[in-house]
Subunit: 239 residues, 2 copies
C-alpha cells in the first residue's frame, strides 16, 4: 500500500551516443515523464545538452548506475524494450513480446514503479539482461528494417504509455518477486528437477508471472504454496 | 477508381538539420513507408546519411520540391502535423486538431494518397501553409513541453498510422477539392458575402470537408449544388 499511482522509469542501458540521451530526455518531457536512469552511460557533454533542449533538467537529474540491478532496485515491474523479439515462441528469453499498446492495457488499474529498459544502440540488451526483466516489449516495425533509433523507440513507447489509467491494484515489489523466484528455484532443487531444464523453466515462470502482473498478496500466496510443497517433501503424509 | 490502396507521403517542409532528415528516413523504413518529399531542404550530406542508417535509399529517392503545392500535387488529402494546436476552437487555421489515433480511425476504409506535412524544427508550419491542409493533426504531449523533435514526431505518427486498414472508399483528388473550393469562393462573391468573413468561412469549410474526407462523387454533387445556386442567383424564379 506504499505505492501511489503508476510511475514509469526510463532506463538506458549503456547508451553509446550522447545525442540519444539528450533526445530521450526531450521525448520524456514531451510526454510528461521525468524519471531517467542511466547505466554506464557515455560521456554527457555539449551534444547531449543540445539534443535535450528544454529537458536538460531531466538529463541532469538522471540517476547514474553501474548495474541494471541498481537502476531498477525499487521497481515493481521490469520491462525490456527490444527490437528483436525472438522468432520462436518457445524461446522464453525474448518471447512472448508485447506491443506498447498491449502494455498500456496490461498496466491499466495498476500502481507501482515500472522500469523500462532500453538497450545499446548497436547491440540492444543481452540475454542475461533480458533475464532480469519480467515482460518483453517490442514495437511492431517493418520486417524489412526493424532496427529503430534509440530515442525514437523511447518516444513511441512513451507516446503509447502516457495515458495509462492507474488504479488501486498495487503491484508486488520486485524484491519480493525475486525472493519468490529464489524460493521456487530452491523447490526445483528439492524435487530434483533436471538441471538442464531448470533455467528455461524459471525463465518461463518469470515470463508468465511477469505478464500476469502479480500483487504482493499473490506473491505471498505462491510462496506459501511453495513452502507447503517443500514441507511435504520432507514430511510425507502417511497414506 | 484510379486509387489503389492508401499511400502515405511524408513531406518535410524546409527541414533545417540534415540529421533529422536522415532520422526521418529511418523511422519511415522502420514502419514500412517509403514516399518522402522534401520542400527546400537543408544540404544533405554525411550526417543525413549517417542518421538514415539502412534507410539511405529512402532519403536518396526522396523527391525535392521548391513549393509545398508541388510536393503534395497529386494527393487526395493533406494533413498538417503541428505541435501547437490553436487553443481557441473557433480559430479554424489550427483547429480542430486530431490525434494520430483519430487520423488512423478517420482513414480506415479509404483509398488515396495522404500527404502529411511536418514543419521546420524551429517554427513549424506557417499559417499560410496550414491553410493548404485539410486536416490538422497534433500529437498529444505534455503542456509543460509540447515541442517534439521533428523525427520523433514522424516516428510517433507513422507508428500510429502503419496499420490502417485501407478499403474501397476512394478519396477525392485534391485537384478536384481545390476546384470545389474555388467554386464556393466564387459563389460567396456572387452572394456579396462580407469580404472580411470570406477567408475565415472558407477555412472553416475546408476544415469541415477535410475531416469529412469527401469522395469524388460528393465533390461533384457539392459543385452541382453550387452551380445551381449560382444559376438561380442569375435566373430568379418568378414567385
Amino acid at each position: 500500500m506504499d505505492n501511489n499511482g503508476l510511475k514509469i522509469r526510463v532506463v538506458l542501458v549503456e547508451p553509446l551516443y550522447e545525442g540519444n540521451v539528450g533526445s530521450t530526455a526531450r521525448a520524456m518531457k514531451n510526454f510528461g515523464f521525468s524519471d531517467l536512469a542511466l547505466v554506464n552511460p557515455c560521456e554527457l557533454e555539449g551534444q547531449a545538452r543540445a539534443f535535450a533542449m528544454h529537458a536538460r533538467d531531466i538529463m541532469e537529474n538522471a540517476s547514474v548506475h553501474s548495474t541494471i540491478q541498481d537502476a531498477v532496485g525499487d521497481s515493481n515491474l521490469i520491462i525490456a524494450a527490444t527490437g528483436n523479439p525472438g522468432m520462436r515462441v518457445e524461446e522464453h528469453i525474448r518471447a512472448p513480446a508485447y506491443t506498447p499498446a498491449d502494455i498500456n492495457t496490461m498496466l491499466e488499474g495498476r500502481n507501482g514503479t515500472i522500469s523500462i529498459l532500453f538497450g545499446r544502440e548497436d547491440k540492444g540488451l543481452s540475454n542475461d539482461e533480458l533475464k532480469l526483466c519480467d515482460i518483453i516489449m517490442s514495437i511492431p516495425t517493418s520486417p524489412d528494417y526493424p532496427s529503430m533509433n534509440l530515442s525514437h523507440s523511447v518516444a513511441v513507447v512513451l507516446y503509447e504509455l502516457c495515458d495509462i489509467k492507474a488504479g488501486s491494484i498495487n503491484l508486488a515489489h520486485h524484491f519480493d518477486l525475486d525472493l519468490m523466484y529464489g524460493h521456487i528455484r530452491e523447490m526445483l532443487d528439492d524435487i530434483d528437477y533436471p538441471a538442464h531444464k531448470k533455467d528455461k523453466t524459471m525463465l518461463m515462470l518469470q515470463r508468465i508471472f511477469g505478464r500476469a502482473r502479480l500483487t504482493s498478496r499473490e506473491v505471498q500466496t505462491i510462496r506459501g504454496l511453495v513452502r507447503r510443497i517443500q514441507y511435504r517433501l520432507c514430511h510425507p503424509l502417511d497414506r
